[in-house]
Symmetry: C2
Subunit: 355 residues, 2 copies
């Protein structure tokens, strides 16, 4: 019997289709070698699609929902008003599919240069777990006396115990299978109500996971510790807005958006999880073969791990890391290979078995 999974593929805009194409080639190789299969449905969405049809998330929700996981390329085009796709697609998907945890590994891959002087791969091996549905992302804001000198703009952050609990519990479980350390990142001295609730949940759940050591770092101090003492962190759990900010810093440390990936996990099995490279659609280099597909391929590795194909996941990751280490530059003409050549090389390495 062969394991079969149903996959929604959402290439999107710009370099999205090129890098997703590479990821699918690598997936073919992984299926051939590890003996599982996927049924794939490509779904049109993104800036181009929106400009042509006016459709955002609502129109593809049902099509996406029937799959076990979503492989996502990238979205965005200068012709679409900023905020439209973010709120009308990305945030809608996170909310409607209750993708409660946004999981971003921060690791140094050998051969990928970090801009942090003296940082070595052994000192940087963490996962940032970001609450992905609430906080300041609930979209509650209002403006009073608009257009007058006394305008007031209010913006609300809503934090529920249920929302925090599920992501903190997930983070504890993740830590249990790793170095058993969980760090809460917040700004409890200023955002007192929200901060107290976050701290309370961490303290309460810590009692259920006595093997896991917990600590706390303010979000501003995190900007210090993340680049300078990353060895201090195993699993970091944080709120939606702080997670948005510190994971970009995490990506800097890793050597750039090109190799950074994220999983938007639905934790209760009611809807699919989504896997994506963190880089944008880079319309300026689309079609040139200059994009590095490693981010997309590493997000495929996260997807395979999530489906339970752990061996395939590890092989895809190892092959990507190996090829990354051989590239003279991470992207552009200087990469020495085209996007599809990099993809083919990683696929071949997965098919043949990595040394």
């Amino acid at each position: 019997m062969t394991n079969r999974y149903s996959l929604a593929v959402l290439p999107g805009d710009g370099i999205g289709p090129e890098v997703v194409d590479c990821a699918l080639q690598v997936l073919d190789a992984a299926e051939a070698r590890y003996g599982f299969a996927t049924d794939r449905t490509e779904i049109a969405a993104g800036a181009q699609h929106y400009l042509a049809t006016g459709e955002l998330f609502a129109e593809v929700e049902d099509a996406l929902r029937s799959h076990e996981a979503i492989l996502f390329g990238s979205m965005g085009d200068p012709a679409v008003t900023p905020g439209i796709l973010e709120r009308g697609f990305i945030l809608e998907m996170r909310q409607r599919f209750q993708q409660a945890a946004n999981v971003r590994p921060v690791r140094l891959y050998p051969g990928v240069p970090t801009p942090i002087a003296g940082l070595t791969p052994d000192r940087c091996e963490m996962v940032i777990v970001r609450e992905n549905t609430e906080g300041a992302y609930v979209g509650r804001g209002s403006t009073v006396h608009a257009g007058t000198p006394n305008t007031v703009a209010m913006q609300e952050s809503l934090n529920t115990r249920a929302g925090i609990e599920r992501v903190v519990d997930f983070a504890f479980r993740l830590a249990l299978g790793r170095r058993k350390k969980l760090t809460l990142c917040h700004k409890t001295n200023i955002l007192v109500a929200a901060g107290q609730l976050w701290q309370e949940v961490v303290t309460d759940l810590a009692a259920r996971y006595p093997e896991v050591e917990t600590d706390y770092v303010h979000v501003d101090a995190m900007c210090f510790h993340l680049p300078l003492t990353p060895e201090r962190f195993d699993v970091v759990v944080t709120d939606n807005l702080f997670g948005d900010i510190i994971t970009d810093l995490g990506a800097v440390i890793q050597g750039g958006l090109g190799v950074a990936t994220s999983a938007n996990l639905n934790l209760d099995g009611t809807a699919p999880s989504m896997f994506e490279a963190i880089h944008g659609s880079a319309p300026d280099i689309a079609g040139k073969g200059w994009a590095n597909p490693s981010g997309a391929i590493l997000s495929l590795a996260l997807l395979l791990g999530h489906l339970g194909e752990g061996d395939a996941a590890r092989a895809v990751e190892a092959a990507t890391v190996q090829v990354l280490g051989e590239l003279p530059a991470l992207a552009g003409a200087e990469m020495g290979m085209s996007t599809s050549e990099v993809g083919a090389r990683i696929a071949a390495s997965v098919r043949d078995g990595v040394p």
Copy 2:
């Protein structure tokens, strides 16, 4: 006739008194050389004072208010519950004295190593201007159903046109005397109401400062640009919470909290401005002579510039930069000199005139 200024000196806790002591020695030297004078009043406040008396900002408000500027050391002690001093002193002062702009220069000083590989001083010469009285710092939060599974914690960010305008106007004027570039940092695609108001104010004021070029960067993307392409920025203006976060990243780039300084400026002359090093009270090394007084001395330079003693300000800064470049390590036993020796060296250099 000699210019005379009245100065409140607030050494605070931990290493605060040692480094402020050095700054005052340097001030003596600057007065001797540049022919101005200060009347100084030392004011007891901080963690130790709070533990002994229960007094926070309210009790020293009048004493502080009668001065033209405040030189601040640092506050904090593990024995004081986190949040008490932050909210009861620091934030109270910013609010009650309407210190509307928190100004933090981000520069590389020659000889102070930056952790960012390949970054050179000519590429990093910016000032971050943080709104300092409102946004998420207004202290408006509430909790519903506390202690139950359905707890909700709400946290509000309040942004007024008046509050934003004064700090953005200040930032434009600052840019006018520099490279004439102003960047707004926010998260307008998510925090729509607040973001629109910020963007609107920047757009409106830009019409008054046609020589200043403006642009916009999301706070998450700022984590990328700040360390990797700092040459892109001249003056960055941002909200209270984002400013708290990105200025710590700015301090990382500069080589650490030891050399980072900030000015909390009252912009309407109704109350004193406050000048401080960004480092904490470091109780673990207090009294050992291991603290580097450079941050405090550079904050004195900001204070002198604010009072209008530009020549003295430049001399203090130049002397500090020179001595910084001679230290084998930035702090600790390896600094090669004690705190007071570093202070004396900088003072001597100011008195004798820096080469």
